[in-house]
């Protein structure tokens, strides 16, 4: 008995020791005299006060690290502020989900550009900022000369990591590497008929037809700007213009970069960065908790609250452009649910409680209830849409209007023909959130008396059923604007004249929507174009050929020391010059 007590005590001591060895802050920002994680004129004042002995000294006030706090430190801090001395930003370790694994680092090869851009090596002519607005990056702007001719003006004074200048020749070289027929993604740039240098810092792009998303297509990291020096083997030796320069990599495992001291955008704060690639989400969360990494992307929902509870860690999230929604089969076919009736579709839309889906299936952290196709962070979203708030009474009223009521008091609604209202929902299991979400929706629809069956299929098996029209509703997930342009999703899903498979699946057809979308595609004035899309979205939400459930949120965990980190909703930009380790 005594022995057991002894064991118990030893156990307690061991666990206490384990707890005591939890991660502690280590890096120091020398120059941040007042320890507010920033280096600015306040620190200069602070050091001066220390020299005058008004304030007590701190270790981080010793900016030049000579173990003495004196006027030299004041000068040193001023030089850091003026970007004449490198910022003591430290080293960052981050764990990502996917990385370059195809034995090449060439941005023009398939999707490798995504990974080398995230590492801060490459930049594009235009980009989407953290508000999803199209902004110039290596360009300064553009002029549209005619419907098919665009002049792009380039930033001057930019140099590549190898010292060669960034100019019109480099742009032509970079874009022609993509439009080359041997490039496996060249057909995505079919709209470009030619690109020529029209001066040292101007290039002229001619498109085959009027194509409004021309500028947007230049934000894809596929068209990253590379040095025109043909001697460089971009497969193993990336040379870009970004804030970080390539250092080393192990395919499938990690990629390291160092600060670009000559970055055109000014002082890059981090000294070096290592990105590790781990596909298992629990492992990524554990690496963050252990302090192995400072930033972890793609946290698993169940771990989010544990990480939030840790005082040294923080979780940030932002809506992404990934939408989870229902396809609705509006084809009036006898024997199937009467979804050709708008009232029935609207009723189902009212019966779905999106808040509950997010709170239970996504543990309250993985998404935001949707009102329309686009999330509010996307500039093309129609902010006036109210969407469908949960309202069972309204749903039942609409159904009664359509002749669907519970005639025999068995808690199941009957169609006007006297049969039970049955509804089949199909979905696939590739994404973790699909099954739990659809199960919540199933129970919500059963609450108002619809007899729902859910079928889980493989991702190609479901496509066959969709193609054959063999479904009532189908729960799917799509990225809504891969190139940042609103046309892609709306046309493929709702334009009945364009013959996309998504529209064939819903059989939705509305002449007004068709003509609004057609006008929008060729309209070059953004405000008028948005007006067309706003009107189209309003009709679509009203008529419910698809039901929009939630927008996915990206969850990133980071150590509180990491300063200046921003999530970009299109997931293309990750490392920026503003990030650093601040303590």
């Amino acid at each position: 008995m005594k022995r057991e007590i002894q064991f118990g005590i030893i156990g307690l001591i061991v666990s206490a020791m384990l707890l005591a060895s939890m991660p502690s802050v280590s890096a120091e920002l020398f120059g941040d005299a007042n320890e507010d994680t920033r280096i600015n004129m306040q620190d200069v004042t602070k050091v001066e006060r220390m020299i005058l002995e008004y304030d007590s000294e701190t270790t981080s006030a010793d900016a030049n690290q000579d173990e003495d706090i004196n006027m030299q430190d004041v000068t040193f801090i001023e030089l850091i502020i003026l970007e004449r001395k490198p910022f003591p930003g430290g080293s960052l370790n981050a764990v990502m989900i996917f990385g370059p694994k195809d034995n090449t680092l060439d941005p023009a090869f398939k999707w490798t550009g995504w990974y080398v851009r995230k590492a801060g090596i490459y930049e594009t002519l235009f980009k989407y900022n953290d508000e999803m607005e199209l902004t110039p990056e290596l360009a300064t702007g553009y002029t549209q000369v005619s419907d098919t001719v665009w002049d792009i003006h380039l930033r001057e004074g930019v140099i590549f990591h190898d010292g060669t200048p960034f100019n019109a020749d480099a742009v032509v070289y970079s874009i022609e590497r993509v439009t080359d027929v041997l490039n496996s993604r060249s057909s995505e740039y079919d709209h470009i008929e030619s690109i020529v240098a029209a001066g040292d810092y101007t290039v002229r792009i001619t498109t085959t037809d009027p194509y409004a998303p021309t500028i947007a297509s230049l934000t894809d990291p596929l068209v990253s700007m590379v040095s025109a020096d043909e001697e460089i083997d971009l497969v193993s030796d990336p040379v870009g213009t970004g804030p970080f320069m390539y250092d080393s990599n192990v395919f499938g495992a990690s990629l390291s970069v160092v600060r670009n001291p000559d970055y055109w955008g000014g002082g890059v704060k981090l000294e070096d960065v290592t990105l590790t690639y781990v596909s298992d989400s629990t492992t990524r969360a554990t690496m963050l908790e252990s302090g192995d990494v400072d930033v972890a992307r793609g946290l698993p929902y169940p771990q989010v609250s544990t990480i939030e509870d840790n005082v040294n860690l923080d979780v940030v999230s932002k809506e992404t452009l990934r939408l989870y929604f229902m396809f609705v089969n509006t084809d009036p076919e006898p024997g199937r649910a009467p979804l050709d009736d708008i009232r029935v579709r609207r009723a189902i839309n009212y019966a779905i409680d999106r808040d509950e889906v997010v709170d239970t299936a996504l543990e309250g952290v993985g998404g935001v209830p949707a009102k329309g196709v686009f999330p509010s962070i996307f500039p093309w979203a129609n902010d006036d849409l109210t969407g469908y708030s949960h309202n069972q009474a309204k749903a039942l009223e609409l159904l009664a209007d359509a002749g669907i009521t519970d005639i025999d008091d068995d808690d199941v609604l009957e169609l006007s023909s006297g049969e039970d209202f049955t509804l089949n929902i199909k979905t696939y299991t590739t994404r973790a959130a699909m099954q739990p979400s659809v199960e919540v929706i199933e129970s919500q629809l059963e609450d108002i008396g619809i007899d729902v069956t859910v079928e889980l299929l493989g991702s190609s098996a479901i496509k066959i059923d969709m193609e054959n029209g063999d479904y009532d509703m189908a729960f799917y997930s799509y990225g809504v604007a891969p190139s940042g342009d609103p046309d892609y999703y709306l046309t493929a899903h709702f334009d009945s004249t364009a013959d996309y498979k998504e529209n064939r699946w819903t059989q939705y057809s509305n002449a007004t929507v068709d003509s609004l979308l057609a006008s929008a595609r060729t309209e070059m004035d953004p405000a008028t174009r948005k007006d067309y899309y706003d009107q189209a979205q309003e009709i679509i939400v009203e008529e419910s050929p698809e039901m929009f459930i939630f927008h996915e949120k990206e969850l990133v965990g980071h150590h509180i020391d990491v300063i200046g980190y921003e999530i970009y909703p299109n997931e293309i930009t990750f490392l920026t010059k503003n990030m650093y380790i601040g303590r």
Binding site: S187, S254, S279, T282, S460, Y478
Partner: protein, 314 residues
């Protein structure tokens, strides 16, 4: 002997053919179109035109049996094809991944032996003592504990709480720091099996007449156990260890995935996910050849360990 080896090698051919046919058809019937999967970027959309071009370029528009025959013909000419994803030779990827797996396998084998052999011997000598019971309970636990769970526990203990080792990653080309946790995870499972086998075959050896004779003529207990008993007890253990090493070399999908180790197990699973048929076929064929070859080596090694065993090519 040579005849025997030749015969065994000839027997391999139908086995490998069968493996390739089965794997080719299973992946073909698995849902998911490689052209669509591989032309889909991280943002989740595929350009229909690129998908069609890809299909034609990679010969995916041809019927299944034609695709198989083309592949087989290339393999017979020593060409394992090109990865759909990277457009690099499949064999280059396999070589690289196998290097990582080999490193991990050797370290886990060492860990496994370092645990299992002494434990097995001690349990056998102190049969039915509390030490024996503890070792065997430990071994049962080791066998039944799933790899992924043990891996996560080790990550938590050594990575999160103690901060002794990195949680995951490949480090600087698979350095010792990064290799330890996955190697321990893999090693303990096989250690448990080996320890049990070591114990039982040691017990059997200790029960033999020659041991009694040795003891009777006054040989010290150390030599009785270390020389007479151990040598004989090791024969079945060597077989086991050989086979185990074969398993390890095939790469553990689970352990390599949770620890982010770029080995052959992860390569296989990633290729399956991306529907990279060429790569999957290459991996499966490689693993099958490796496994059969190790089996053959183990069989041959019997002859050297135990001269009583003979093989005849009948």
């Amino acid at each position: 002997m040579i005849d025997y080896i030749l015969k065994r090698i000839l027997q391999l051919i139908p086995a490998l053919l069968l493996v390739s046919v089965v794997s080719f058809s299973i992946i073909y019937f698995a849902p998911g179109d490689p052209a669509e999967t591989l032309c889909t970027g991280p943002d989740g959309s595929a350009n229909p035109k690129s998908v069609e071009e890809f299909r034609i370029k990679m010969g995916l528009d041809k019927p299944l049996h034609t695709q198989y025959l083309i592949w087989l013909n290339n393999v017979l000419h020593g060409d394992f094809g090109y990865s759909y994803q990277s457009e690099n030779p499949v064999f280059d990827h396999i070589k690289k991944a196998f290097g990582a797996t080999f490193k991990l396998s050797v370290v886990s084998l060492i860990i496994s032996l370092a645990i299992s052999i002494p434990l097995g011997i001690i349990s056998a000598i102190k049969q039915n003592s509390p030490v024996d019971v503890a070792c065997m309970v430990g071994a049962s636990l080791g066998v039944s504990m799933p790899n992924f769970w043990l891996g996560l526990l080790l990550m938590l203990l050594f990575g999160v709480y103690l901060h002794w080792l990195p949680v995951a990653g490949y480090g600087d080309g698979g350095d010792l720091e990064h290799i330890l946790l996955p190697a321990i995870t893999l090693g303990t499972g096989s250690a448990a099996i080996t320890a049990r086998l070591m114990r039982s075959s040691m017990l059997e050896a200790l029960g033999q007449d020659y041991i009694q004779t040795a003891r009777a003529k006054g040989v010290s207990e150390r030599i009785v156990i270390g020389k007479h008993a151990l040598k004989n007890a090791l024969i079945p253990v060597v077989t086991m260890v050989g086979l185990n090493f074969g398993y390890l070399l095939n790469g553990s999908i689970v352990v390599e995935t949770i620890f982010g180790w770029p080995g052959i197990g992860r390569l296989t699973v990633d290729s399956i996910n991306m529907r990279d048929y060429m790569m999957v076929q290459g991996c499966i064929l490689f693993v099958a050849v490796l496994f059969v070859a190790i089996n053959l080596l183990v069989d041959i090694s019997y002859r050297y360990i135990d001269p009583r065993i003979h093989y005849e090519a009948a």
